[in-house]
């Protein structure tokens, strides 16, 4: 009894230590046919392509499902996927797609025109979060129609330049799902099997969904019957690692192959470390400081431009650990029609002169609202310092997104720090948001109603690529010279991976490029 009691304590201790040792002895390295990624996957709500709208779920859906068309790696050309080829009507509104033959779903069922029609109509009728990408351009579900066993016709509301067509139909919301599986799993309250599809796979893409345990991992398995051939990575895991410091340790130890959600400072440290590569890509996102034209001083173009001349763009870039492309226009670098002009730099004298011209030589006060979370509060502190140097006294208020967006949407802000990530890789998305008052997005929130909004409508309907580019250049110049935004760069997408991982890169629109092109050495 006596010895027993004490013994019990020691046995407990020993068991812990032994268990630990056993775990270590059995720890295998990741084999070459398996890829393990670590990052934040808890954002995913549903893997149903008609509902997926978060980074993780959109990317995952893109691995499981195919769409009619796809983009090339740079996101500036539309390339075939399930559709082998297509023709467009002279008015640029009707596209007719010819499907690739012999493509099959993971279930073995054939991918045919009826499946395409079913899937797009399903997404529009379900009308969940991402459906607006379809419904903004296609009036009614019936405008997507199978006109033969392997021919599908899509009629849009408006003239659609090819890139814009791709923006809609290459988006995961336009994924083709297996109608037979959907119908089999439909219930009276859920006729489109949205609940079932949230956690299950009805796709024809290169990877099958093996399992998704929320907040733990998503598991994919190669689909050998894929029309482009079987993927080289046989199994892929995306593991939840909410603590970036822990994810970095795991990458350095080789327990994970790719880390997707590190902090800028960590990517900086990892650059040049042996065995690790940091891949960087321009991202279709714009970081900006917006001025509400409804707040008296900002009604004057000179004041707005004084602010653009007052900012120290280099210092802001350093706050982002240089993971920021110093672009100053609304169309981000890497996207079609990006205007590579950077007129603004810190020039206090010029800013003061502009303020004098506008009648504000004595400066004024303004409130700046900024979301919490690094590094934006540091950015706000720097902007406050820069504007103080030209006589504008800024008071910074940090708000949670929900509160900040409430104020911003209601046009009750004076200055706000925000970013805009493209919903689709066409300059129309950004031009509309930043320059079209009628779109009720950023120009509207900042009460900037400028005739350039007509150019936005003209550009979206222009089918000729070079004339279209010229129109977007014009819009960008107008916003640059008069707009209520001081754009201080486009963040770069970064991913860190073991150097034996090949063919996988950071992507401008999703976190990573498609898995189908990746392999390990």
């Amino acid at each position: 009894m006596t010895a027993g009691r004490r013994g019990l304590l020691w046995v407990g201790l020993l068991a812990l230590v032994l268990g630990a040792a056993a775990g270590v002895a059995g720890a295998p390295r990741v084999p070459n046919t398996v890829l393990v990624m670590g990052g934040v996957i808890s954002d995913a709500v549903s893997l149903d392509p008609a509902q997926a709208f978060e980074f993780t779920s959109v990317w995952a859906a893109a691995q499981i499902y195919d769409t009619l068309v796809d983009f090339n790696r740079e996101f500036n050309r539309v390339v075939p996927e399930l559709a082998e080829s297509w023709t467009v009507s002279p008015d640029g509104r009707t596209y007719t797609f010819r499907l690739r033959r012999g493509v099959r779903f993971h279930s073995g069922n054939p991918v045919d025109a009826r499946a395409v029609e079913f899937s797009l109509q399903r997404a529009m009728k379900l009308n969940l979060t991402p459906a607006f990408i379809l419904t903004s351009f296609i009036a009614r579900p019936e405008d997507v129609a199978a006109v033969g066993a392997d021919t599908v016709r899509v009629t849009f509301k408006q003239t659609m330049p090819e890139i814009l067509m791709g923006s809609v139909l290459a988006n995961p919301v336009s994924s083709v799902v297996d109608p037979a599986l959907v119908q089999r799993n439909a219930t009276p309250t859920d006729p489109w099997a949205n609940q079932w599809l949230s956690f299950n796979d009805a796709g024809s893409g290169p990877y099958k969904l093996r399992a998704w345990s929320k907040n733990v991992k998503i598991e994919f398995e190669a689909f050998d019957g894929y029309w482009r051939g079987a993927p080289r990575l046989r199994r892929v895991f995306y593991q939840e690692m909410p603590e970036p410091a822990a994810a970095m340790l795991a990458l350095q130890r080789g327990d994970i192959d790719v880390a997707t959600d590190l902090l800028p400072a960590q990517y900086k440290q990892l650059q040049g470390q042996p065995g690790i590569e940091v891949k960087t890509s321009p991202q279709f996102t714009v970081n900006y400081l917006a001025m509400n034209v409804g707040y008296e001083p900002f009604g004057k173009k000179e004041v707005r431009n004084a602010i653009k001349w007052a900012l120290d763009y280099d210092a802001l870039r350093r706050i982002f650990e240089d993971a920021l492309d110093p672009s100053q226009t609304i169309v981000p670098p890497g996207m079609f029609a990006h205007l590579a002009e950077r007129p603004y730099r810190r020039d206090v004298a010029r800013a003061r002169a502009l303020l004098r011209e506008a009648g504000y030589e004595r400066g004024f006060r303004a409130e700046l609202i900024v979301p919490v979370g690094p590094p934006l509060p540091d950015v706000a502190a720097k902007i406050k310092e820069d504007l103080a140097a030209v006589g504008i006294e800024v008071e910074v208020r940090q708000l949670r997104s929900a509160d900040l967006l409430g104020i911003y949407r209601a046009q009750r802000h004076q200055l706000v720090i925000q970013r805009w990530g493209a919903d689709y890789p066409d300059p129309d998305n950004l031009a509309r948001a930043f320059a079209s008052f009628d779109a009720r997005q950023l120009a509207w929130r900042n009460q900037w109603d400028h005739p350039v909004k007509r150019t936005v409508e003209q550009a979206v309907a222009e089918l000729n690529r070079s004339r279209r580019e010229a129109l977007y250049h014009e819009i960008q110049r107008v916003v640059l010279e008069e707009g209520p935004y001081a754009i201080y760069g486009s963040p770069l997408e970064q991913n860190a991976m073991r150097s034996n991982v090949k063919g996988l890169a950071a992507s401008p629109l999703f976190a990573l490029t498609d898995l189908i092109d990746a392999w390990k050495e």
Partner: protein, 335 residues
């Protein structure tokens, strides 16, 4: 006894109802919009309006509360906006991981804590006592999240002795879900590899989370032992010439157990919610992380569900402790 129990249960239910009311209104008076927070800055206004209507967030707050109570009466905790699932399903999925971690932590805390406390009491006033207490106080003084990071750095990254974050190595597949507790499930499945791996993964988080319990238990054990060691019957036992070890472990410890047992329940309850920080550092898919993200995204139903669950457990733990105390200590009677 039964009257006492009924009274306690009634009071607990009342307290829990109060908790519900406060949490509900607290989470609804926040100016801010969960839908806007989840959809981000770019969703078109009409999409936000649609969703608000779909989730009933456009209704007056009292009406929403009544509707919530109606659901609750039918055993339905509502749907989480962020995960788009019934909150009950979410709790069922995430709670077992927290239970498992908290249980491991309490085991670590209690066994090591009692050992430390006994050593300290026996060596009272000598340098061993001071050293043991000093070291355990240092443990109590370190922020858990920092301790966790350092533990990962040392034992996982530098020494490679223990596995990294998560419940299992990624390549080890999870045994079929029966109880939701990984250790139990792998035992049921007879999966030795998963069991060993899960145990190894549990060492660091359990030690880190259990560190504060360890110190608490050590203190109580020490005090309680000192108390008992001063009693007459111990002196008598010594006088009888019994070996010191027998005196301490058989006579003293047995009688010193009472206060220790009674605090374990309370510690356990607080571990269940105290796991928030540990779970973040060790990528543990538990309730703490679920609660954190629910609060951040103003996911009402989820916040309510977690609060309700924890409040229930707290009340229950308190009740059990009081009953246990009565059972162990015949001098106390409840009228």
């Amino acid at each position: 006894m039964w009257a006492y129990l009924t009274r306690r249960l009634l009071l607990s239910s009342l307290a829990i109802f109060g908790v519900l009311v406060i949490t509900f209104f607290l989470s609804h008076v926040i100016p801010g919009d969960p839908i806007a927070a989840i959809l981000g800055p770019q969703a078109p206004d009409h999409v936000i309006e649609d969703l608000r209507r779909r989730w009933g967030l456009d209704r007056p707050i009292p009406e929403q509360f009544v509707r919530y109570l109606g659901l609750l009466a039918r055993g339905d905790l509502g749907r989480s906006i962020a995960t788009n699932r019934p909150v009950l399903d979410d709790l069922r999925e995430f709670f077992p991981a927290t239970v498992e971690l908290a249980t491991a932590a309490i085991l670590v805390g209690v066994t090591l804590g009692m050992a430390v406390g006994i050593v300290s009491a026996v060596a009272r006033g000598r340098w061993v006592d001071h050293l043991v207490r000093f070291v355990s106080l240092i443990g109590l003084s370190m922020p858990v999240f920092w301790l966790g990071l350092i533990a990962l750095l040392v034992f996982y990254f530098w020494a490679g002795l223990l596995p990294g974050p998560g419940q299992l190595d990624i390549l080890i597949s999870r045994p079929p879900r029966v109880t939701g507790l990984i250790l139990v499930d792998s035992l049921l499945a007879g999966d030795g590899a998963a069991l060993r791996n899960a145990l190894a993964h549990m060492v660091l988080p359990a030690l880190v989370l259990g560190s504060h319990t360890l110190v608490g238990i050590a203190r109580i054990t020490r005090a309680s032992m000192l108390d008992v060691l001063g009693q007459e019957y111990i002196k008598a036992a010594r006088a009888k010439g019994l070996a010191e070890r027998t005196v301490i472990l058989r006579h003293a410890l047995k009688n010193a157990l009472l206060p220790i047992v009674t605090v374990i329940g309370i510690y356990y309850g607080s571990l269940l919610e105290g796991a928030v920080l540990t779970e973040t550092v060790f990528a543990w898919p538990g309730l703490g992380r679920y609660a954190t993200s629910a609060i951040l995204s103003q996911d009402f139903a989820a916040v309510m569900g977690v609060t309700l669950l924890i409040a229930l457990i707290f009340s229950l733990a308190n009740l059990v402790v009081d009953l246990l105390y009565a059972a162990l200590n015949p001098r106390i009677r409840y009228e």
